[in-house]
């Protein structure tokens, strides 16, 4: 069998597992409310109070376009930070190109961001590192307050917001936050950084159905074939051999 034969296409997959429940996911043709083009990294936005320009009529929009949680300033901060944590290079896309900002926006704007599955009763105390997260902040609040803190820290120490710094300086600022060397006004830097990094990695390596890992590029970069995963007839054949099957996501079956 050649590697190509191992592909399970949508039709074949449905035949094999009889998945009648292949639910409608994100449709590429669904039209979101025109929200204006988000500002790109490095671009100042939100200061001129200009009316947003609608997307050109007839252009295909998806439910993943636009932002529901971050404001335009936050979007440009997040994209700058994402491209520092996961810089674009020939190995694979950068964090913002991969859609991690969209991923983070949807997570923080939803139940996770509001503290679903997080015990939020007081009293609150700092505790030991072994006792884990103890802040009275849901993830959305932690990230939002921390973004303002880190940007203020960049401004205070480098005279510019994070998005306006060069890549090396951005990395230096984020390292200082990560290591607790940056004095932030409200949130503990390492706690904020670890949550931000975790969300970045979830977006980058998660299923594209959540808005990140655009075109499954992160999976292709490392050689993870995705879903549906049925290797019963391949496990011996591919011992010590590179796997050549197609990369597929949940979104591909929507």
């Amino acid at each position: 069998m050649s590697g190509e034969d191992h592909r399970v296409d949508r039709r074949g997959f449905l035949k094999v597992v009889g998945a009648t429940g292949a639910a409608a996911g994100v449709s590429a043709t669904s039209t979101a409310m025109a929200q204006g083009s988000p500002p790109a990294a490095g671009e100042h936005a939100g200061h001129d109070h200009a009316m947003p320009t609608p997307a050109s009529a007839g252009a295909a929009r998806s439910a993943l376009d636009g932002f529901v949680f971050f404001n335009p300033d936050e979007v440009s901060f997040v994209k700058a930070a994402l491209d520092t944590l996961v810089p674009p290079d020939p190995t694979g896309p950068g964090g913002s190109e991969a859609g991690c900002a969209t991923y983070m926006d949807r997570q923080l704007g939803g139940a996770f961001g509001r503290g679903a599955r997080l015990y939020m009763q007081g009293p609150f105390a700092e505790g030991t590192p072994q006792q884990g997260y103890q802040l009275p902040l849901a993830p959305a609040d932690l990230i939002r307050i921390g973004i303002a803190d880190v940007d203020a820290y960049a401004m205070a120490t480098r005279k510019k917001g994070l998005r306006d710094l060069d890549a090396t300086t951005r990395a230096a600022v984020l390292t200082e936050v990560e290591q607790g060397k940056a004095q932030l006004a409200h949130v503990p830097g390492p706690v904020w950084f670890n949550q931000f990094l975790a969300l970045t990695m979830e977006g980058y390596f998660g299923d594209p159905i959540y808005g990140g890992n655009k075109d499954k590029a992160a999976w292709k970069m490392i050689g993870f074939p995705g879903v549906p995963a049925m290797y019963v007839n391949m496990i011996e054949e591919f011992r010590n051999k590179p796997y050549t099957g197609e990369t597929q996501s949940i979104q591909d079956f929507a």
Binding site: Q121, F205, E236, F238
Partner: protein, 589 residues
């Protein structure tokens, strides 16, 4: 005001593996059986269908099938001198919730523990004398030996369609199986799974080093299988989405499609979901349970009378229910008296991460929950652990359960956590990384225990259970010694870079380590040191029985579901053949 309901004969609190087994086994009694499950119902179809079931974010990262700690959690500290704080998010361990419990999202590793594990104190003292037991270690025996439990292991393995190879059939050692295991009466019901590249390399390296490798016993069916109850299993897909996920193929044994449909055929059986038991109700003597108080999804309170109550929730939940209900004397670590909350233990594990060259393809994404190759040469009772300076041991193996990319992207030590160097290292190493791990035993100590927190409450207003736990000197030595063994095997496997590791010391509630929480309501022979007798019947309240890993006096170097399932069959037999014929204490205190 609680609504009083009609009495039932047998009430199960929590509906996972053990509740399901007992409901199935007691159906023939004709008695009215009611199971109360705090979570909701679920089934393979529609809940675990492809491709949605392979959702790493939803199930593995956001814990969709697990306990919701915003509602019920515990507090934690390393030692009594600290103030315990709430486990605000899941981390170190992942208790289940909903029908099937953690039996839905386990990996399927189904061991028989070693005969030593059931007689840890007796065999240690016989071999080394009392003096070897360090101050503060509560080393105890189960009150039943391996030979008594063997037939029940057999029943659970056949219920689950375990794939494996016997290493000791009726005393005859068989190369290729686990030659250290206690004697088995019969072979595993299914042949072993097919090994990955990692498994093949581990097997060869272990043999080269003089060890005795064998395939891990897996409740992931290696072929289509029908169990003795007539339940059909599919063949494992080797999908690599096993632990934390449901199984689309009904190849991973789970109570929801095995024991529960059989139990549900009984017209005298009823299951109520979203029914959260607040406490067990006792009569004025405190020596007899009269039923339970539970809350439904809308928050309405019900009093459910019952003649017999079985606590069949997760290990930690059972202990909490006993503390909330006043069943058994709570443990006092200062005087080392009392039994509920005593002997809490965990898993003291270590291992080595292996990085191979670019010509060696591991393909870690192909795997099955319990797929792997093990050696038992360093498990407690199988070697001279005293010479190594501790009591206990561990099962060592190459577990190849999957390589899901949000959570599994090993890079060599010294690589930054982000940035270009991290990215290149991630892409370069993902296809070529593997691991060898030691699942280490954990003895029980005076200073590691469960009680009720004075400050924090759950959403129902009950005090949270408080966990006080750390890895002590004995476990630290064991973790280090066996990490070195793992690393040596990794080198023999040909890895170009081998990095030994242990669980964090001090113990941390943050990183995932294992959902093998044991003890807190242990079985034994002496009511001063055990909450339960050898039938897992509460010494003080004989119409309450307790199942699950909370009954183990200390934790073994093995996953607990095998003995948990075997003991559920053992308890069911004790109920059917002894207790229900003549209710009362089955063992004289």
């Amino acid at each position: 005001m609680a609504t009083q309901l009609k009495p039932v004969d047998i009430l199960l609190v929590g509906y996972g593996w053990t509740g399901g087994i007992i409901a199935k086994e007691l159906a023939s009694t004709g008695l009215k059986i009611l199971a109360l499950e705090r979570g909701g119902p679920r089934d393979t179809n529609p809940d675990f269908l492809e491709p949605h079931k392979d959702d790493e974010l939803r199930y593995a990262v956001r814990h969709d099938l697990m306990q919701d700690v915003s509602r019920e959690t515990l507090t934690f500290r390393n030692k009594s001198s600290q103030t315990a704080l709430p486990m605000r998010q899941l981390g170190s361990f992942l208790p289940g919730e909903g029908v099937g419990g953690a039996g839905v999202h386990w990996n399927g590793v189904t061991w028989r523990w070693t005969p030593w594990d059931q007689e840890a104190r007796k065999q240690t003292v016989e071999r080394y004398g009392e003096k070897i037991i360090p101050e503060g270690m509560n080393l105890q025996d189960w009150g039943i030996g391996y030979d008594e439990l063997e037939p029940y292991y057999d029943r659970f393995e056949k219920t689950c369609g375990v794939s494996g190879k016997a290493g000791n059939l009726n005393g005859q050692k068989i190369d290729g199986g686990n030659v250290f295991e206690g004697p088995r009466k019969s072979e595993y019901p299914n042949p072993p799974l097919k090994q990955t590249q990692t498994g093949v390399m581990f097997e060869k390296a272990a043999r080269n080093l003089g060890y005795h490798p064998f395939p891990s016993p897996a409740a992931n069916s290696s072929q289509p299988y029908t169990n003795p109850d007539g339940v059909a299993f599919g063949q494992c897909h080797y999908c690599g989405f096993c632990e934390r996920f449901g199984c689309e193929a009904n190849a991973k044994a789970s109570p929801h499609f095995t024991v529960m449909p059989i139990a549900a055929r009984n017209p005298n059986f009823e299951l109520r979901t979203n029914a959260n038991v607040m406490k067990v109700l006792l009569d004025s003597t405190g020596k007899k349970a009269t039923g339970v108080l539970y809350v439904d999804a809308r928050g309405r309170e019900f009093i459910q009378p019952a003649d017999l109550v079985v606590l069949s929730a997760y290990a930690l939940g059972n202990v909490a229910l006993m503390l909330w209900s006043g069943i058994g004397k709570p443990y006092d670590p200062v005087t080392n008296t009392g039994v509920v909350g005593r002997n809490y233990a965990y898993q003291a594990s270590s291992g080595a991460t292996l990085f191979f060259d670019e010509k060696t393809y591991i393909n870690s994404f192909m795997g099955a929950g319990a797929l792997g190759v093990n050696i038992d040469d360093f498990n407690a009772g199988n070697y001279d652990f005293a010479k190594a300076g501790y009591i206990g041991g561990g099962g060592i193996g190459a577990s190849t359960s999957g390589g899901r990319p949000i959570q599994s992207r090993p890079v060599p030590a010294g690589t930054p956590r982000w940035g270009l160097e991290w990215k290149k290292a991630t892409a370069a190493n993902y296809p070529h990384a593997a691991g060898v791990s030691n699942q280490g035993s954990n003895m029980a100590y005076r200073s590691n225990y469960l009680d009720l927190d004075p400050t924090y409450r759950d959403i129902y207003g009950r005090p949270l259970m408080r966990m006080t736990f750390d890895f002590l000197d004995n476990e630290q030595k064991q973790m280090k010694a066996l990490a070195d063994v793992c690393a040596a095997i990794g080198k023999e496997m040909g890895a170009r870079k081998v990095e030994a590791r242990t669980n964090p010391v001090p113990y941390s509630i943050v990183p995932y380590q294992s959902t093998h929480n044991t003890g807190g309501a242990v079985m034994g022979t002496d009511p001063r040191t055990s909450a339960l007798n050898r039938y897992c019947q509460v010494w003080d309240v004989p119409n309450v029985f307790v199942t699950g890993a909370c009954v183990f006096p200390q934790n073994a170097g093995k996953n607990p579901t095998g003995p948990v399932g075997a003991l559920a069959y053992w308890i069911a037999d004790a109920l059917k053949n002894q207790y229900l014929k003549n209710p009362g204490a089955l063992v004289r205190a």
